[in-house]
Symmetry: D2
C-alpha cells in the first residue's frame, strides 16, 4: 500500500525535514508540495542538498490525489488550508499551532487572530503520539504538538498521571535556532546568534506555555503551575529541557524511574537513561528520539533532563510517526530505520 | 606608581586573559610569567595573537621583583605556590579554588586532596569585589570566586541579605567551553561540543555548589537550599545563569528591583536591565560586566537572569578589579576603559 | 543475501559513520565491531545516539563469521590487521592510508614507518569508486581514497584524461574538524577551533599530496604539478576544494562541462551544478554526494568547486559504495536511499 | 588636543566597531552618531554591550561640531553624505566603496548607480595606511580600502613593486559573516551559515576585484591578472587570504622574505611570521594586525597567507589608524594599546 502525501509549505525547515524523512519511508509517495514563495521552482533551489521536487502554488494543489496532507504553514493560514484539504477527503496532519489549544478564546488571546476553523477544534487530536495512539488511528485531523511541549510533556506525563508532582514545575528549555523558522530576522542572524545565548519569553509569556499547561491539566487535577523559560542557543537544531519539580510525599528517584519505565520501556522512540546520565542534544539530534535523564536535585526536588531534535520528534518526525499510526504501518517507518526495524535486529546486541 | 606583576600559569585561558587585560592597564607591568609546559618559549607560541612574553619555570620566578602575583594554577598547586609568593612579600590573587572554602574538611571532601596551606584559609578574603572591598584593600591573599558563583551570587546577595528569598534557589547555568580549561579532553573536542548541549554535575554535585552555598550562608540564616545545574554550551566564552526562587511574603518585582538598584546603581560593572529585558551573553562578553535581568515567573516565583564572561568577571577581570582595589587605583583600570573612565565621559550621553 | 560485516576500530568518526550508514542498508548485518580503548563496553557509551553494539578487542574478532571487514584504524595498524582478515577469507575495505600508495618507498617516506604488508600493494585496488568499478568487483582488498583526494580527484579525472589541464593545479581545500580524528588534541579543542580558520601543511607537505599526485600521474602524462593547501574550518564535518588550473589550448568552459557531463551524468553520487552555481558544503553534508561547480576564473584559468562530506563520500560512504560494488548489490544501498532508490522514484520530478 | 568625531551609520557592524575602538582612544570624543533606523534610541538598544550613545537622524547631524566624520553607510548614500560633511569643514573618512575606484565608469559599472560626487574622486586618498601616509596626512577625504583588498594588497604590494610577480595572482579568500553586514538575509541566517562553507562571486565577479586590480596596476606595469575567490565561513569575524603567484626569474623564498621584511619590519600592525608558520584568523582577530605567512608552493610558485580582522584592519581599525595619521597622533592610539604603546613596552620581552 502506498501512502500518497501532499506537503503544504515544504520550503520551511519542517517541510524540508519531512522530505528528508519520507525519502526513506518504504510506503510513502509525495504527490505534491506547495510553496508560496518558490512556486514554479524546485526544492533544490531552496536547499542545495534536496531532491528536485517541483513546487506549486497552494491554489494548484491536487488534494484529491493525496491520502494525507502535512501542513507546514504559519498559524491561521494552516487552519484555512486544513479546511480545504479535509473537504477534499484528505487526512490532515497540522504542524502549526492552530489545532493544539482546545479553547478558541485562549487561542485567539495568544495568537492574536480569529481562529479560521473553530468547529474543527473539538475533533482534532493532540498528537503526542505515545499518549494518543487510539485517537490518532481514526482521526481525520491531528495537531502535532509544539517542540517545547513535546520535550516537556513526554517526561512529565507519567509523573503527573501518577500524582508525583507536588508543586510548581519549572522548565528551563534550550533550543537550536531552526525553531525560530527560516525567515531571516535580526535574532537569527549568524553574527548575533553565534557566541551568544539568550533567554526569551520566559515565565508565562511564550505561546507554548498555554499549550503545555492545557495538557498538564488533562493529566493532573489540579494541574501544577508551570514556569517555562526558553533560551536560544547557537546550534542549528536540537533542544534540551531541564525540568525541576517538587515530588509528592512518598516519592523518590526509584519510584520516578519505575513510573517512567512502566510508561516507556516498550516505546521505540523514548530512551530512558540510566542513573548518572543526563540527556544531551547528542542523544537525540537527527533522530525521532526523546532521551530522558532522571536525578534528584535535592531530597525533595526532582530534575528531569529531556532532549529531542526540535525538527524531528519536535515537529516533522512526530508528524510522520502520527501518519504511520493513522495508516497502520510500523510506527518507525521513515524514522531512522528505513526498513522498519529489520536492520536494527541485525546489529549485534 | 607602577604595579609590578607576576603571573603563574600564564598559558591557560585565565592567564592569557590577564595578559590581554593588563596590556591596557595604565600602571601595570608584568615582570614575570611562568608556565610549566612552555618554559623557555614565549607566549605567542601558545596564542598566536599574544605578545612575545618570555615564559619561565615556576622555580625560576623572581618573586622579589613583584608587588603582586596572580595564580592561574590547578588547585593544590596553587596553594603551594601562594605560600612561596607570600613569603617573598608579594600580595597574592589566587584564581584557583584553594582559598575559597573556609572549611578545610569541606575543601578536602570536594577536591579530594589535602589542603597544602590550611593556615591561610582564615585570613584569605573571598574576592567577590562588590561585597568585599574593605577586606580586599588590606588583604595579602585574595581568593577570586569561581565563575558560576560570581554569576549566581551577584544577583542573589542583595536579596538574601534583605530576606527576600523564601525557599530553595534553583540556578540553571549555561557556560562556554573555556570554563573547562585549555587541556584537550574528549568533552572539549570541537566535534563533540559543536551542535551539542549538555548538562553535567547537576543538582548538588558540582564543586561550585559548596562555594555558592557557603556564601549564601553568610548572607541569610538559615540559608536557603541550592540546586545548581551547569550546562555546557557551544560557545568559547560567556556564561548565563537563570535563577528561580520563591519570594518571601510581601515581596514583589518592584521591591526586588529596588533592592538591586540600591545595591548596584553605583557599581560600574553591574548592569541592571530594565523591565522586559533579560541578560544575554552578548551583554557581558569580553567585558568585566555582570548584567542582571529581573522578572516574575509566576506570582510567587522570581526569575533572575545573570550574564558574565566566565574569563573576565568570572575570573581574570575580577582578579584585576581586586588588584586595583588592593593597590588603590581606579577600579576600572584595565577593564575596558584603559584610561580609567575618561573616554566614557567623552561619549555623548 | 545478507552481507556479514566486521568493523575494526568502530569508535572513531569513520567507524561510527559506517554504523550510521549500515543501519539503513537492506542486506547488511554487522557481526562484530572492535575497539582497542572501549572493548567490553557498547557503542552508545562512546556516542550517545548510537545503538548498543558490543565492542570487542581486535584479538577476539571472529573474522571467520564476516564476509567483509572494514578497517577504521591508524596507518600501519591497519595493514597488519588486513593481513589477518584476508587470511581468514574476508574481503577487506581499508579506510587508512596503508594501501593507497603503490610505491613502498613513497609510503615509508611520508608515513615514517615500515610498511607491514608491502606484498599486498600491487593487488590492492584504489577505490575511487566511479573510476575503479571493474577492479573493485573482483578485489579482495580495496584502499579507500583519502577525503581530500576524493574531493580533488573526482572533478579532475575527466579533465586530466582528456588532456585539458595545461599546467600546475592548485587545490585550496577546506575541511571540517572531524577529518582530524576523535583523539583530543590542542588543535581540535573547541575554544581553539571556534572562531578561527587555519591553513596547515600547505604546498607539497600534506600526506595526501603524494596520493593525489600518484593518481594524477595515472591519468595524464606528464602529470601536472600539484599545489595543495588544506585549511581547518570550524565545522564538524564537510569539505570544499576550490581548484584552479590553466586550460589547454582550445578548451573552454563549455568543453569542460561537456567532459564532466559525459563522465558523470549517469553517476548517482556526482552532482554537476549548472552554470553560475558553486559547490557548497550544504550540497554534500551527510550524503555520499560529490557536488561539482565549474567556472572560468579568467579566460585561461578554470575554477572547479568540489564539495563532499569528509566522513561519507570522503570515507565511510565511499567504503559502503565499494562494498556494494564488491557484493553486487545496488550501489546506493545504505547511502541515503535505504530501499535502494525506490523512494527517490516516488518523489514527484 | 581632542579630536571631535561624528559617525554616520553607527548601528552597522563597522559603526559599532568604531565605537568599541574609540572608547579606548585617549584623545577621541564622539560628538554625534547617526542611524537611519534607530534615530531617537540609544546604541545599547541595538548592541546590548554598547554604551548608551544617543542616535540621531543624519539630517540632524551637527557637522560643525566635528573635526572628522566617519561614514559607515551604504555606497552612494555615503558619497552624498561626504559632500555635506566636507562642506561643513569636516575631514571625512569613508568606509564605503564610493571613493575607492578612481574611474567613474568602473564604479558605475560595478555598483550600478550614478556616482553622487565624481568631482571628489581625484583628491580622495586610497587609505591603505602603510602605503599612503604622506597623502593621508593632508587629505580631506580618505577612502578606506575594502576588507578583502586590505588582506590581499598588504602582502602583495612589496612584491609587485619589486617586480617579483611573474603571472596571474590567485587569491583564495575566506571571510567571516560580519562582512556581509547586519541586515538579515537568507545567506546570513544562522541555520544556513552554520556547518556550511560557500564560495561566492568567484573569479572576476566580486566588487572588490576591480579595487584590487586597480591598486595592482599602480604598483606593477603591466599589472598581473587577478583571480579572486571569496568564501563565506561560519565565523562572526576574521578573514584569511591564501594567495598563489608565480615568482619572477631569480626570486626565491628568501628574497620574498627580505622584501617583506624591508617593507614591514618597522610597521606596528604588520606581523611577518617566521618560516613554517602560516597566518590564521587567531593571529588577527580583534586586533588591527595583518599577519603574513610566506612559503613556496612548488619551486616556482609562492604562497602567501594573510589574516586580518575584517572589521578592524579591514574596516574600522584601519579607519582609526588613518584618523590618527590625519591628526598627527600616534598611529596605534585606540588600536589595542590604549595608552599608545606605553604598556607594550612594559611587557617583559
Amino acid at each position: 500500500m502506498t501512502i500518497h502525501i501532499g506537503i503544504c509549505g515544504v520550503t520551511g525547515y519542517t517541510g524540508f525535514e519531512l522530505v528528508r524523512l519520507l525519502a526513506s519511508h518504504p510506503t510513502a509517495e509525495i504527490v505534491f508540495a506547495t510553496s508560496q514563495t518558490f512556486a514554479g521552482q524546485t526544492l533544490d533551489a531552496v536547499y542545495p542538498q534536496a531532491p528536485a521536487i517541483p513546487l506549486i502554488a497552494e491554489g494548484d494543489a491536487p488534494y484529491e490525489t493525496a491520502d494525507v496532507v502535512f501542513l507546514c504553514l504559519p498559524h491561521a493560514a494552516s487552519a484555512a488550508t486544513a479546511v480545504r484539504a479535509l473537504q477534499a477527503g484528505c487526512k490532515v496532519i497540522d504542524l502549526s499551532a492552530d489545532f493544539r489549544l482546545k479553547d478558541v478564546a485562549t487561542y485567539e488571546a495568544w495568537y492574536k487572530v480569529s481562529h479560521p476553523a473553530p468547529h474543527l477544534l473539538e475533533t482534532a487530536v493532540y498528537g503526542l503520539t505515545e499518549w494518543a495512539r487510539e485517537e490518532i488511528k481514526t482521526a481525520d485531523l491531528v495537531a502535532c504538538p509544539g517542540c517545547y511541549p513535546t520535550s516537556i510533556l513526554l517526561p512529565l506525563k507519567p509523573l503527573l498521571s501518577a500524582g508525583a508532582v507536588a508543586g510548581t514545575v519549572i522548565a528551563d528549555s534550550k533550543s537550536g535556532v531552526s525553531g525560530a523558522g527560516r525567515t531571516p530576522k535580526q535574532a537569527s542572524h549568524f553574527v548575533e546568534v553565534s557566541d551568544n545565548l539568550s533567554p526569551y519569553s520566559i515565565g508565562q509569556s511564550h505561546r507554548h506555555w498555554p499549550e503545555i499547561s492545557q495538557a498538564m491539566g488533562w493529566w493532573a487535577q489540579p494541574a501544577p503551575s508551570l514556569i517555562f523559560s526558553p533560551h536560544l542557543i547557537p546550534i542549528p537544531r536540537g533542544m534540551l529541557s531541564t525540568i525541576y519539580m517538587p515530588l509528592a510525599q512518598g516519592w523518590d528517584e526509584a519510584q520516578v524511574r519505575e513510573a517512567l519505565h512502566e510508561a516507556y520501556s516498550a516505546e521505540p522512540f523514548i530512551k530512558l537513561l540510566p542513573a548518572g546520565q543526563h540527556a544531551t542534544v547528542a542523544h537525540a539530534i537527527r533522530t525521532n528520539r526523546c532521551a530522558i535523564g532522571v536525578q534528584m536535585g535535592d531530597p525533595h526536588t526532582l530534575i528531569l533532563t529531556s532532549a529531542i531534535d526540535n525538527l524531528t520528534k519536535g515537529a516533522s518526525g512526530q508528524a510522520v510517526q502520527n501518519m504511520n499510526v493513522m495508516f497502520g504501518v510500523r510506527e518507525d517507518c521513515g524514522l531512522g530505520n528505513a526498513d522498519c526495524g529489520m536492520n536494527a535486529d541485525r546489529l549485534p546486541s
